[in-house]
Symmetry: D2
Subunit: 135 residues, 4 copies
Amino acid sequence: MTHTQQMLQTHPRSAAIESGVLLQCIEACFDCAQSCTACSDACLGEDDVATLIRCVRLCEDCSDVCSTTGRILSRQTEFDPTVAAAIVRACVDVCRACGDECERHADHHEHCRVCADACRRCEEACTETLSALAA
Amino acid sequence: MTHTQQMLQTHPRSAAIESGVLLQCIEACFDCAQSCTACSDACLGEDDVATLIRCVRLCEDCSDVCSTTGRILSRQTEFDPTVAAAIVRACVDVCRACGDECERHADHHEHCRVCADACRRCEEACTETLSALAA
Amino acid sequence: MTHTQQMLQTHPRSAAIESGVLLQCIEACFDCAQSCTACSDACLGEDDVATLIRCVRLCEDCSDVCSTTGRILSRQTEFDPTVAAAIVRACVDVCRACGDECERHADHHEHCRVCADACRRCEEACTETLSALAA
Amino acid sequence: MTHTQQMLQTHPRSAAIESGVLLQCIEACFDCAQSCTACSDACLGEDDVATLIRCVRLCEDCSDVCSTTGRILSRQTEFDPTVAAAIVRACVDVCRACGDECERHADHHEHCRVCADACRRCEEACTETLSALAA
């Protein structure tokens, strides 16, 4: 059992949405934040960095948004569904843009392929969280 | 002239939106991020902390979102209007929720009054940025 | 294989320190950042929140430092050992302070016990990284 | 009077160090975090980006550390001098490394000159805070 899972289970308040959906989304956000920071940096280390500028930039944005979304979803006390939906919606948009860009470079750079995968999973997990919040 | 202003003027690419609007929004985001971190902490130092839990929580969320929005708007290279609009829209929602909550405590706690003011300014600056992005 | 592991392996530059040590440290930092955000929030949801103020505060600090340390260690391009050692050293200190405080509440609150464990692992992983950087 | 100043004055607990020193340091940290995010991005927009990789990377690190230091110093409740000193010490080191690198490009890129100035001020403010913490 991961620490994230244990933290969810030992929280004094019950999660605002189905805890399996929430857990997956929190873990996907932190995971994508890490991959995007690493991919942005890996692009900077490539010889063809000049062709990867848009990838570096979107990875920076995506890392920041995923990190913030992961933190907000980690909080269950006085959970505000409007605030949660607002940041999760933004996270869907940024993960899609970043995943699309990474995919364009996936054939030339393995790190872009891996990062695109992390973005897709996070986009999906956030989409499920949005549905759960609307239910 | 602030460093933020100088950084905007010396950037090799021109800003995607009117630079006065952008400058005000970046500065409001960093300012609100600071006020919210400080207000969350000031609430923790109050004797009636038990009545301020929602304020602490929303201030944490608002600080995280403002910080991320300020960073994303500080980037002009390969600016993506969809990504920018997504995070700025989330920032409007979180600033409104946090400003409303801080206002409820403004009569008893000066730091909540000051923080509500920072949230309002950031909400307004983000709303103007959204209009500029849609233009 | 985690995304973090894949990102390390596909980076164009080789890691500055033994990659097993680095991987464990990056993952421990992101994990501890999540646990600390969650523990701070769980404490806010407890009836005896007034006795947990120091725990909330140190968890906020620890989450911020671990998040920053995890990002810096995720970057291998133009790796600067002085910068890396500086932030990892700070992370050891903050994880120790936060882990000690969480442990004081471990008998009453399961989330503090789990979070103390996350802090200990991160403190250890950072200590190993410091040794590797000095080697 | 800035919001940061007002937040310090209205906090229920008194600042752990001389409030003028603290105020200047908090403001310098948030300012440097913004400049470094902007400089990293401005470098990405330059034609000679390949010669600026180390600058981009250190600006990313410096932005993260300054942002975390600014948040930690913004908290006065249950202030822990060991934790504060640890992160402020790291901030001095990172600002020095980043300021040195930006200065190397100051003749060719105005944004590097401005960012070097922000780094120097933050390094100085952090050094003064360290002295105050040791007093």
